[in-house]
């Protein structure tokens, strides 16, 4: 049982590429921390530094009370699932899973017992005598998983352990991993680029982009209160709509394109800085589910304003409709920050998007080509500074 602490951790590869920049992260004892971010943002690098497989250029990594910068992997008491499995090709599934225990001189009977348990849990029972070369990708991935869970390490490190499973198995394994982790109560650093995994599994989620930590919070808080444009655009599917907007003089109104949204004084009470943006252009974020077709809240003295669009496409998902619409406002999409020297999200990383998306009730009568009217509640909107990409509070 231990915590994982990263303090000002930086990784510069020998070729001069800075893959992780000044990362601070604390995984509490027993906590399930998910590290999420687009491909190439430094997730694996960060994990490998915790594992001791990669030198730490600057900063310190601690497991428990101990700074482990110079401790070799085998003495860190960690178990790791590799992104590419890294199985022992000359050993059977059972030997693969039991190898770590064997090296720890656990009695044979006990190893056998644990291997059988793990194989059962992972649905590998019928393959225990096979070599990895005779397994499918998904089966291999489960062997890699089994190798980690038979041990009782003080830290779990998992690098996209479910990426190769089919949808059904993935959901099943997601629950299984969460259960095992909870039962063992081991601090876990779990890497994924799948935000559903991040949202459903993590006690907390750390969002990484271009080697920099963007935000670290509970899944719900991340979703409800993204602190910058990257997190806002990255978390959630379909992604948050981002429109260019102008705060009117006096800050009583917001123009999204040509449409005016009333900004009530209650809003200024919770977002005092917004006033200082009067006359300036900002980015406003609207979650697809915050675009209702009726003003349900009107009775309870709400201040929703109408917001209209032109329906381009309606996608029926069964449980709901996704309505793609255009307005005369400028829409943005977030593209990954590939340049690690860019501080956060500058203008260049906002690219022009084409449309907005709304999530509406499944049986709504709506068709492409029609005009649609939503009701926007300004308190449900997210306001971002265009230059710094930070949330306006």
């Amino acid at each position: 049982m231990a915590t994982i602490t990263l303090e000002h951790v930086t990784k510069v590869y020998p070729n001069g590429f800075e893959a992780v920049h000044d990362l601070n992260l604390n995984v509490a004892d027993g906590e399930f921390m998910v590290l999420v971010g687009p491909s190439g943002c430094g997730k694996t690098t960060a994990l490998r530094m915790v594992a001791g497989l990669e030198d730490i250029t600057a900063g310190s990594v601690s497991i428990g009370e101990r700074v482990v910068n110079d401790v070799s992997p085998k003495d860190r008491d960690i178990a790791m699932v590799f992104q590419n499995y890294a199985l022992y090709p000359h050993m059977t599934v059972a030997e693969n899973i039991g190898f770590a225990l064997k090296l720890r001189k656990v009695p044979k009977e006990q190893i056998k017992q644990k291997v059988i348990e793990a194989a059962e849990l992972l649905g590998l029972t019928q393959w225990v005598d096979r070599k990895p070369g005779q397994l499918s990708g998904g089966q291999r991935q489960r062997v890699a998983m089994g190798r980690a869970i038979v041990r009782e390490p003080s830290v779990f490190l998992m690098d996209e352990p479910l990426s190769n499973l089919d949808a059904k198995l993935r959901v099943q394994m997601r629950a299984e991993i969460s259960r095992i982790q909870r039962r063992l109560g081991v601090a876990t650093l779990y890497v994924t680029h799948d935000q559903v995994e991040a949202m459903t599994m993590g006690d907390r989620v750390a969002v990484l982009s271009a080697g920099r930590l963007q935000q670290c919070d509970t899944p719900q808080n991340l979703y409800d209160h993204p602190t910058n444009l990257f997190v806002a655009g990255f978390m959630g599917s379909p992604a948050m709509n981002l429109f260019e907007a102008v705060v009117a003089e006096g800050a009583t109104q917001l123009f999204i394109g040509s449409q005016a949204i009333t900004l009530p004084s209650e809003l200024h009470a919770v977002r005092p800085t917004l006033k200082s943006y009067a006359g300036k252009s900002i980015v406003v974020g609207i979650r697809p589910e915050n675009l209702p077709l009726t003003d349900n809240a009107r009775d309870s003295e709400s201040t929703a304003s109408p917001f209209e669009g032109h329906v381009e496409l309606v996608e029926a998902l069964g449980s709901e409709l996704l309505v793609h619409f255009t307005t005369d406002a400028h829409a943005f999409e977030i593209t990954e920050v590939m340049d690690s020297n860019a501080a956060g999200l500058a203008d260049g990383t906002l690219t022009k998007g084409d449309a907005g998306v709304a999530r509406v009730e499944a049986h709504t009568k709506i068709a492409a080509g029609e005009r649609i009217r939503f009701w926007l509640n300004p308190e449900r909107l997210h306001y971002f500074d265009r230059a710094t990409s930070e949330l306006i509070v």
């Binding site: 497989l53 992997p73 890294a86 199985l87 090709p89 770590a100 070369g133 005779q134 990708g137 190798r147």
Partner: protein
């Protein structure tokens, strides 16, 4: 109509392929037999009596006999018994190949998996030793051996052959080690393997086929090496190739005897090849990664 035409074309193409296939098979066999014919001649001759061994036209029908084989080992024959040379060759081969592996595997490891500083230079140095012409080395080597009192001594050959084979072995084993996925070794380290365990239980089993292939090549070279053995040995360390050469010079030519001796001398190499072959099934790292 159309289908029958199709069929005919199909048939024609099929028979053309049939013809080509058989043609190439035949050609291959003819070439193989042609290349193999000296060996075949050697084996056949070894079962003849000396009188019918080298006649013109060749004797094709004869009573096979093992007479010459027993002659090979009796010391009364042409160049003394084959027993001692066989023993020398065996000692030299086993010892030098064992040494090559013992030194070569760690060296290859230090040049691939955990590369030392300036490993490129080291690698080139290994290769450079192979660029020296054989013949140029014989005088200094002879003088050194004489100085050390190692003339006509198997130890001289063991050292020499180890030196010869080492660069090749290091290059070969290194290339096999490079195929071991980095993550597999890292997984082993995380699983608690120290350097020794990592080497013995993970790396070694994975590159065993490569090591077998390397060992086989070293065995073949060592067993058959003639040049240095001829100059550095006389009686106490005479190896099989040198022994064979004496059949032609001492008391005239004994073709059947020579053939029998040569046939026996092939057997150990064939045996080594057979053992190695069982290890040579490639693709051992299959399944390690995604």
């Amino acid at each position: 109509m159309a289908t029958s035409l199709d069929n005919r074309i199909h048939h024609k193409r099929g028979s053309r392929q049939w013809f080509l296939g058989h043609f190439w098979t035949t050609v291959t066999w003819v070439i193989a037999l042609f290349l193999f014919s000296p060996v075949l001649w050697m084996v056949i001759t070894s079962f003849k009596r000396e009188g019918s061994a080298y006649t013109d036209p060749p004797t094709l029908i004869f009573h096979p006999t093992l007479n010459e084989y027993s002659q090979v080992f009796s010391s009364g024959s042409g160049a003394g018994g084959a027993g001692a040379p066989f023993e020398h060759s065996l000692v030299v081969t086993v010892a030098s190949v064992a040494l090559v592996l013992l030194l070569g595997i760690p060296a290859a490891y230090a040049l691939s998996i955990r590369p030392i500083k300036r490993w490129r230079d080291a690698l080139f140095f290994f290769l450079a030793t192979k660029m020296l012409p054989y013949v140029a080395a014989i005088v200094p080597i002879y003088l050194i051996a004489e100085h050390l009192g190692l003339l006509d001594n198997v130890i001289a050959l063991i050292i020499l052959y180890t030196g010869f084979n080492l660069p090749l072995a290091v290059w070969m084993i290194r290339s096999f080690l490079l195929e071991v996925p980095r993550e597999v070794l890292e997984a082993a380290r995380i699983d608690g393997a120290g350097l020794r365990t990592e080497l013995m239980r993970v790396i070694f089993p994975m590159v065993l086929p490569g090591i077998a292939a390397t060992a086989l090549i070293c065995v073949i070279f060592t067993w058959n090496e003639f040049f240095f053995a001829y100059f550095l040995t006389a009686f106490n360390a005479q190896t099989v190739p040198v022994f064979l050469s004496h059949f032609q010079s001492t008391e005239g030519e004994y073709w059947a005897l020579l053939a029998a001796a040569a046939t026996i001398s092939c057997l150990p190499v064939i045996l080594a090849g057979w053992i190695a072959q069982k290890q040579l099934v490639r693709g051992l790292s299959l399944g390690a990664l995604k």
